[in-house]
């Protein structure tokens, strides 16, 4: 299955892209998405357990992902 990883701010700069398609086995989790991203060029900037949102809601590393999910990797926020 495939999910879409969204990258922002410093992470998008490191990857040279704000969107990466990730192909996974079934029964995959947020952690699997992050691990794949970290193995990619630019992935060294990602912490092992970054803040992640799945389909616009914050998610933990163990959360299962489904085909077509939007998995956003959230750099340290700086709103306000």
């Amino acid at each position: 299955m495939t999910v879409t990883a969204l990258l922002f701010a410093s992470y998008a700069e490191a990857f040279g892209s704000d969107r990466v398609e990730i192909t996974l086995a079934g029964r995959s989790t947020v952690r699997d998405v992050v691990d794949q991203l970290r193995a990619m060029p630019g992935g060294a900037t990602l912490p092992a357990t970054p803040l992640v949102a799945v389909n616009l809601t914050y998610a933990c590393a163990d959360q299962r992902v489904e085909s077509g999910d939007e998995v956003a990797i959230i750099p340290p926020v700086a709103g306000g």
């Binding site: 922002f8 701010a9 912490p47 949102a53 809601t57 956003a72 926020v77 700086a78 709103g79």
Partner: protein, 152 residues
């Protein structure tokens, strides 16, 4: 009941927001404005570029407002967060709360800004007078965590 939040890409009109929440049921109005400072961590700032995960930022900001309304019995609240290129002194966020009583108005206002700082998927790239720029986070310049410390 008048609770409204927005992520905007234009100047924030504070006077309009204050008029929007104003209600003769309320005895206290608290306004918080976040503005671009000329110095951060000792460096002379020229401006800040705010970006966001827009769709999620809108949802989170609306959630924060709902939680605030429930926690502090607030009926009149408006929050706007601005994105894009902001100059020194520009307002990046305005929070306007009106409440019957002042204690709740202050607490509600503080709740919103603290939640925004923790949760809102918004980032800022600070530009400096010397021409450099950096991504900054609430704890100062973002530190990249070396991979070898992460045990993976």
């Amino acid at each position: 009941m008048s609770i409204r939040t927005a992520i905007v890409r234009r100047a924030i009109e504070v006077g309009a927001l204050m008029a929007e929440v104003r209600d003769t049921a309320d005895g206290a109005t608290v306004v918080f404005l976040g503005t671009v400072r000329e110095v951060n961590d000792g460096r002379a700032v020229s401006g800040i570029e705010y970006s966001a995960y827009g769709e999620m930022a809108e949802r989170e900001l609306a959630s924060i407002a709902s939680e605030c309304a429930a926690a502090f019995d607030v009926a009149h609240l408006v929050v706007e967060h601005r994105l894009g290129a902001l100059a020194l002194g520009d307002t990046s966020i305005a929070i306007v709360v009106a409440h019957a009583h002042r204690a709740e108005a202050y607490d509600a206002s503080r709740f919103v800004i603290e939640q925004v700082k923790q949760r809102l998927p918004v980032w800022k790239r600070e530009g400096y007078v010397d021409g450099a720029s950096e991504w900054v986070s609430a704890g100062g310049i973002e530190q990249e965590r070396p991979v070898q410390e992460q045990g993976k």
